[in-house]
């Protein structure tokens, strides 16, 4: 290269022209992606190409964890084992009761000719890494389309809702946490059955109930569970607990801050609910009677 002709011959377009071209192309891509979602297929292909790199980058952390597992003392394992066996016994007893109740419930629902609740299947997944984007709260898990994950499915841990699958790649999936600013969860107050919409605030440990009138009955410590009316989350999953209620008559709505119950930003394993909600078909929009066109020309 050093022996090629001096740079002021053959250099192609000037940097400014190239910059303009690149910028225009980028902005076109931005618009195509944000407005029209044309590029999802291309993203899928590109994601497959990047996938080995992502796994490679996640490898050192996984390896460290594996090595750490080797150095667990035998007594700790023994204690853990005992504790888990005990817990298993307890949950087994509860499960028996639950099975009996589920059977009874199914029977009662049959009697009432009510819609059966569909058993949900779960897919266990491991968090590969937290999203590196400081603007959003997202995590990437190691299961994807190939494992039966679809966009829109809810993700939970043993305590409650963590988030929702928002993007699916062949072997990975992206979960938007409930703490993300754009993520909304329809919830119900366990104490009095009031329905509300819970939204993230963008900070790691805070949720906010949206558009609650000042006089609505929400108190500190109220448990919020999913209401299930959206058809995305199954009803009855714990989501958050109210931690602070601020009623200021200067504002239209009460400011109700909640804390998520699940380990939203600390969990390494989670379950994705493969939950198909067989909602009854939405009634078709009634055709509005066509209004006779006004003719400008007088008959």
């Amino acid at each position: 290269m050093e022996h090629s002709p001096p740079p002021f011959f053959k250099r192609g377009p000037t940097p400014l022209v190239r910059l303009l071209l690149c910028s225009l192309l980028s902005i076109a891509l931005l618009i195509a992606d944000a407005r029209y979602r044309y590029l999802d297929d291309i993203r899928l292909v590109a994601a497959v190409i990047v996938y080995p790199l992502q796994r490679l980058a996640a490898a050192p952390g996984e390896m460290l964890a594996r090595i750490g597992e080797f150095f667990v003392a035998q007594s700790t394992l023994h204690d853990n084992n005992l504790r888990l066996a005990e817990q298993n016994l307890l949950t087994g007893a509860k499960l028996q009761k639950y099975n009996a109740l589920a059977a009874e419930n199914a029977h009662l629902r049959e009697l009432l000719a009510a819609r059966q609740r569909f058993p949900e299947r779960t897919i266990a997944a491991e968090v590969l890494y937290a999203g590196r984007d400081p603007f959003t709260r997202k995590i990437i898990i190691d299961k994807g389309e190939q494992h039966g994950i679809k966009a829109g499915q809810p993700a939970i841990d043993q305590l409650g809702v963590i988030g929702q699958v928002t993007r699916v790649y062949p072997w990975l999936a992206e979960i938007t946490l409930v703490t993300d600013k754009e993520q909304l969860v329809p919830v119900q107050n366990v104490r009095n059955g009031l329905r509300a919409v819970l939204g993230g605030t963008g900070s790691t440990d805070q949720l906010e109930l949206k558009f609650i009138p000042l006089n609505a009955d929400f108190q500190n410590g109220d448990q919020l569970t999913t209401s299930g009316i959206d058809g995305v989350y199954p009803p009855g999953l714990p989501v958050a607990a109210v931690s602070n209620v601020e009623r200021n008559a200067a504002y239209l709505f009460a400011r109700i801050i909640c804390k998520p119950v699940a380990g939203v930003s600390s969990r390494n394993q989670l379950l994705v609910l493969n939950w198909e909600n067989k909602m009854p078909q939405r009634p078709a929009d009634e055709e509005k009677p066509m209004r006779p066109k006004k003719s400008r020309r007088g008959g």
């Binding site: 690149c22 076109a28 890494y129 937290a130 400081p134 603007f135």
Partner: protein, 173 residues
Amino acid sequence: MQPRDIAPHEILLPVRPVFIVFTLLAALLVNLLPWSGAMLTLKPDFVALVVLYWCIQQPRKLGFTVAWLMGLIMDVADGTLFGQHALAYSVLAFGGIVLHRRVLMFTMKDQILHVIPLLLVNDLIVLVIRKFGGADFPGFSYFVGSFIAGALWPLLSFLLKLPQRPVPDPDNV
């Protein structure tokens, strides 16, 4: 008169394209490491840093196309809107290519003073695009990464220049 602040000019071997590709991939890999929490806010954008380095050092070997493609890869890996890193890296490449003669005349300390504003502009472009997308400002700690990247510049220049340093031949002094 002794010019005080001019970097001594080294005579280096030509750089091998394979090495450029290797460093870009390595930077991508470091960016893809599972960063989280405080480390995430402090993490410099290594891909931006390496792209800028090569644009300053070898503007004829690598330019807008590579910067733009690396931006697209970062967009896919981060799951963000297509084109935001691509746009930011293109502007970064422009800065690097336009300023490359000037930057290389300076000593390391003054080079850092050139690099940090360029990286800040890079951050700012991503920030503005995210703002249009409706995201919240993540706080001023968002910009800290670029200052750390600036601090890493001397180390990076040293490491990336290693394969270009001629091996002294004892028979031929």
